[in-house]
Symmetry: C2
Subunit: 392 residues, 2 copies
């Protein structure tokens, strides 16, 4: 208890947090200033503009919620879902289930559209659910399921929502900065994300953005939002137009320094370049894994480059593998969650961690560790297969 | 938008955030590791033990909520207050009003016990309210009102709650680490605080602690807590006994490094020494202010040493004074809030910022600034009066 904490050297290739750039860590360590300081208010404006860039939106109500992604999810639900509403919730992994919890805790009814874990959300089933539930007011789905590594067709799902005159709530925790995400082109209404995935920022904030339709729904509510902390009508007073900036809560000043720097890095690289980089290193990683004889859970067309669910070979103690990777290589990969617990490893290539060194390290460390446990894998092939991708 | 953010040099003597120690900033900048990493789980145990020390409690359910103090407040209310409950809420400043908002958003009824802003909560009125409201299930009050600088008799109020068999919810955002706070001796049931006041940590976390009575109330609820993110039954699965550590949300890893370091510093100094230090510098500051002819809003027996509400002299543009202090001296002091807006400055002496340099700087800067505006103050007396306190 009595000494300062010095973390061991880790390479973070799990489902997040991902490796954080020294630039971001350095920014966060700059001296704290007041949350109403004019200089800080300027920084807030810059963060808002950078988030609009990352989300590809002109939405005025775009800001980081002062808490992790789960709170960003809750911010979307408690503001848009009223007691008695019907909400169509798509579930193909853990986070759809968490959406259902949110709906029910708002006093609303969740109509579930379920797909197997690891598959994409079925657009047809959603269309049917919308047709069968004319009273639905919201459609909620996960763009990039962190628990499985599958993405869904957000453009098509948002289009369905708009054409049925319901609002869409979209979880982009793992997609922001990693794959194509286009809030305005999709016509998405309430979108939340996290900082510790493809933005390679520290965990603790949840970027959100609300369309004008969503803001109108919030303004016309006749019941108060059940959360004071997440009530966007109040939060807008602090994050809204420059002139007001009324105190609501004390912003997490230093974590916002970190987010600003992480977003700058993204903008310097360019959003499309970042997407391409994730795709490239994913392709190399998968080539190596497949050459080793390891399979992926998700079908190629719906694979998230930034989150790879790898099937654990029969007879292998998956927890022991993770623990050896951590101990021998300082390498963190993730365990399976929910229906995939014990069956997969989740290998992240998120943000700053999506690089060639990490791909090579991960393949080498996995091959050595599995070999030492007599797992049924192909040896001495993975590295060449991965490197061939880079040579293309 | 296109360049890194470098904050100006500030001395933070407002209502928080307070000056953060370089040790804390340095800790926060260490590389991020996973929120389920065994090394991080050890750190969580250390943080819990250090928070128990700071709160003076053996409560097992003691942890930092992953969001600012307002979320800690909400965590206490949504877990302990059920729809239809009656809650007695004491208000003598801004934060009692926020408690009322929380109660009502839980679908419960708030019975208000009001005292003038700047005064202590009347124990007699609370006793009467408890006697008149036999169906009340919770008594909520603010120990240290950040909006006014008055503290209340938490021991007596918690005793009343216990004797009437209601749970107490206590706001200690500004008191933790600054004045006597004794959760177990008081028999307080749910207590929340913030990190950016007398702990001199960055903003963004809210330490909370729940008594066994409070935990029993949570466990026996027959309705779900309306917030998924703040549901203590779920949060316990992550922060609870070492063996489980089930994923709930991604903890704000680096901010927790910072909290750990800030709590270590508090423990190294010793809680009672920290209280004495706040008292000493407050006494010096007040001696200087009074020698200058400036009065304090709160009666001496209820003054918080860490938050001094100073009456703005007649005819002085209080916002201009704050803006000059910021510009000419890098010195931040706070504006009045709510009923005291425009009438007071709030001068903080919180945590690391409670030191002799800050007292001298604040007095000198205020005297020069007010003199330059022809304000009716006594000159050339404040510094000697303050220093005499240190010489005693």
């Amino acid at each position: 208890m009595s000494s300062s904490f010095y973390p061991a050297r880790r390479i973070l290739m799990g489902p997040g947090p991902s490796d954080v750039s020294p630039r971001v860590l350095g920014a966060m360590a700059r001296p704290t200033i007041g949350h109403l300081d004019p200089q800080f208010v300027d920084l807030m404006d810059q963060i808002k503009a950078l988030l609009q860039y990352a989300f590809r939106t002109d939405n005025a109500l775009t800001l980081p919620v002062s808490a992790p992604g789960s709170a960003g999810m809750e911010a979307c639900f408690v503001n848009l879902v009223r007691p008695g509403d019907t909400v169509i919730v798509c579930q193909n992994g853990v986070f759809g289930g968490r959406m259902k919890e949110n709906v029910e805790r708002c006093g609303a009814t969740a109509v579930m559209v379920e797909d197997p874990w690891g598959q994409t959300v079925s657009v047809e089933k959603v269309e049917q659910a919308l047709a069968e539930n004319g009273d639905a007011s919201v459609l909620a789905f996960v763009h990039a399921e962190t628990s499985t590594g599958a993405f869904s067709d957000a453009a098509a799902l948002c289009r369905l929502a708009t054409s049925h005159n319901v609002l869409s709530i979209v979880d982009t925790v793992t997609s922001l900065g990693g794959i194509e995400l286009d809030v305005d082109a999709w016509g998405a209404d309430a979108v939340y994300s996290g900082t510790q995935k493809c933005l390679s920022c520290v965990p603790g904030l949840s970027p959100v953005t609300f369309s004008e339709r969503a803001v109108a729904r919030i303004r016309e509510r006749d019941s108060k939002v059940q959360s004071w902390f997440l009530d966007m009508q109040l939060v807008m007073g602090y994050w809204g137009e420059n002139s007001k900036r009324a105190y609501h809560h004390t912003a997490p000043v230093n974590t916002l320094y970190a987010l600003h720097e992480a977003l700058l890095i993204l903008k310097e690289e360019g959003l499309e370049n970042a997407w391409r980089r994730h795709r490239l290193h994913h392709t190399a990683l998968v080539a190596g894994l497949e050459a080793m004889g390891l399979g992926l859970v998700v079908a190629p067309e719906w694979r998230l480059p930034q989150l790879n669910s790898v099937s654990v070979p029969a007879g292998v103690d998956e927890a022991l593998v993770r623990s050896r990777l951590l101990q021998d290589y300082g390498l963190e990969i993730g365990a399976g969650l929910g229906a995939l617990a014990g069956k997969v490893w989740r290998v992240g290539l998120m943000g700053h961690a999506a690089n060639r060194q990490n791909v090579v390290l991960c393949l080498g460390a996995l091959e050595q560790t599995l070999s030492s446990m007599q797992a049924p894998i192909e040896r001495d092939r993975a590295l060449a297969a991965a490197l061939a991708v880079y040579d293309d």
